[in-house]
């Protein structure tokens, strides 16, 4: 095989790990590709780089390709989500004023119960609760809306604003925002700067939320099947390595390098291990499955996940109910095509009832050994992709 270099854009976040590891530990090399990893300064820049052909693939917020197919957020380029890079991994955090009120009211900071956290916030807030998120189309926004809508908080009591994650702690300190939902390490950065406390992990709202995807232009995915296959497989091998408990320390070390996240490995390790430090008081909580890269079909681009995103976006932006085309940007077909030659255990179906799995459950798969992990929504709702309510 001729070695080919693929330019890939990413945002310096812990969940960019599969791409960084694929390049650093030779999983890309094994597929005879090199990843030219380009750190993007913002999500809009990253999207434009991919859309206009500066790069061929990108680490992308899972709702972005779906939103673009729905005609939201400009740019008429069709993108494909060829695999999921990470499941869960966001945190909701609050600023000092709210933290103090919550502590005064006896709130326990269990980092688990989405309902009681919402009630506590509703009782503590005076004005609208202003929440910072990294981008208008993101799992962060979707989780916050879903959570507010179905708790005492109520969707009308929150206001969501875009704040670049590196500026999140500063915005919290300045009182521009009261709280945030952000990907690691930026939640932990806010804690270490003493400007806030972590309230909930994203998975307390949805245990199976596809956080980042590997996106390409649709035409590139169709015209470069060979390169796409090599890229998907390299990233899959990297995610398998990342899921091994022994890999954690080395992974944190590599991500912490100057060229990547440029932050202390200890800070990065919190998301990788799920051992989160909640506040300046030093409370520590173990959150299993805080951020998942591999196993239980974590990397599989489920159509039903895209459908959930499309359905939520269409409702929020007043679009029509037909979201099938938007849901088809999660390319389960391409993923299958390029993964058959590996020993990956692929699910028999490409869609599932989202939120229906309460315990690890065996499902039909190509090798017959696939167990799916719980993907529960905090309110117990089940999303049927064929009949979205």
């Amino acid at each position: 095989m001729r070695r080919v270099t693929i330019p890939v854009a990413y945002m310096p976040l812990v969940d960019a790990a599969p791409l960084i590891i694929a390049q650093e530990l030779g999983f890309a090399e094994a597929e005879a590709i090199g990843l030219d990893l380009i750190a993007a300064p913002s999500w809009s820049s990253l999207r434009d780089m991919l859309g206009f052909g500066r790069v061929d693939a990108a680490h992308m917020l899972s709702p972005v390709p779906v939103a673009m197919r729905l005609g939201l957020g400009g740019m008429g380029v069709s993108l494909a989500a060829v695999c999921v890079l990470s499941v869960n991994g966001d945190v909701i955090g609050i600023g000092r004023p709210l933290e103090e009120k919550l502590r005064a009211s006896g709130f326990g900071f269990d980092f688990e119960d989405a309902r009681t956290a919402a009630t506590a916030l509703q009782n503590a807030r005076r004005d609208k609760l202003v929440l910072g998120v990294p981008f208008p189309f993101s799992m962060h926004v979707e989780l916050l809306r879903y959570w507010a809508e179905r708790t005492d908080l109520g969707v009308d009591s929150i206001e969501i604003r875009t704040v670049p994650p590196p500026l999140m702690a500063e915005a919290l300190e300045a009182g521009d925002i009261d709280a945030f939902c952000v990907g690691e390490p930026w939640g932990s950065v806010a804690v270490d700067r003493g400007v806030g406390a972590l309230l909930l992990p994203g998975r307390a709202i949805w245990q199976g939320a596809p956080e980042k995807v590997l996106a390409t232009r649709s035409d590139w995915a169709e015209t470069e099947p060979d390169l796409l296959g090599r890229l998907i497989r390299a990233v899959w091998q990297a995610s398998r390595w990342l899921a091994k408990p022994d890999s954690r320390i080395a992974a944190a070390e590599i991500l912490s390098r100057k060229g990547y996240l440029d932050l202390p490995p200890e800070l990065i390790d919190r998301a990788l291990s799920g051992r989160m430090i909640l506040s300046g008081h030093g409370e520590q909580r173990q959150c299993d499955g805080f951020l998942r890269f591999h196993g239980a079909a974590a990397t599989f681009p489920w159509r039903s996940q895209a459908k959930w995103i499309a359905h939520r976006l269409a409702k929020a932006h007043g679009l029509g109910p037909d979201t099938d085309a938007a849901a088809s940007v999660f390319r389960a077909d391409l993923y299958r095509q390029h993964m058959t030659q590996t020993d990956a255990d692929l699910p028999g179906a490409s869609a599932k009832l989202e939120g229906a799995i309460r315990h690890p459950t065996a499902v039909a798969s190509t090798r017959g050994a696939l167990n799916l992990l719980p993907d529960r929504f905090f309110d117990g709702a089940i999303f049927d992709p064929d009949a979205p309510e």
Partner: protein, 194 residues
Amino acid sequence: MQNRLTVVVVEEDRDRVIGIVDALSETGDCDVYVIGNYTGLARKIAEHAPDIVLIDIDNPTRDMMEELTLASGPLDRPVAMFVSGAAGGLAQKAIEAGVSAYVVDGLAPERVKPVMNTAIARFRMVRQMRHELAETRRALEERKVIDRAKGLLMKAKGIDEDAAYALLRKTAMDQGRKVADVAEALVTAAGLLG
């Protein structure tokens, strides 16, 4: 219609800001506001309702701009201009896609004037397009109403299409009104009499 452009420059570096503002004032017809502190950026920009935002492409606060452009329709949004040295071919493609105006060579004073001319041209073009679109839509609506009025007259009076139109036009001339208005009145009346 207001012809002056409102330009917001997002830049922290004082020296660069001075150069850019000087270059902008040479182009004449624009009001310039500078935002040098990113706290509450989106709100500050929204307050000025700018036609153009000048910001470096590598500035992480660009994502805040996305939120602003979402608030309005695709043709109404401010033309955000992102300037960079490394963007290369991104610039031209981005402009063609109508997202925004990109320019290479960094946010440098000497580059501002030609860039502003491009942006102004684009701003006028978009406004012209918007105007034409509204005109076309109105003309189409009027033709539909006139057709329906003609149909009503043909049926009620047993006359052909030409005669029906002549009748509409004569009534309009007699009353000093537009044909479309007379047709509209007729269609409304017919609807009421059902």
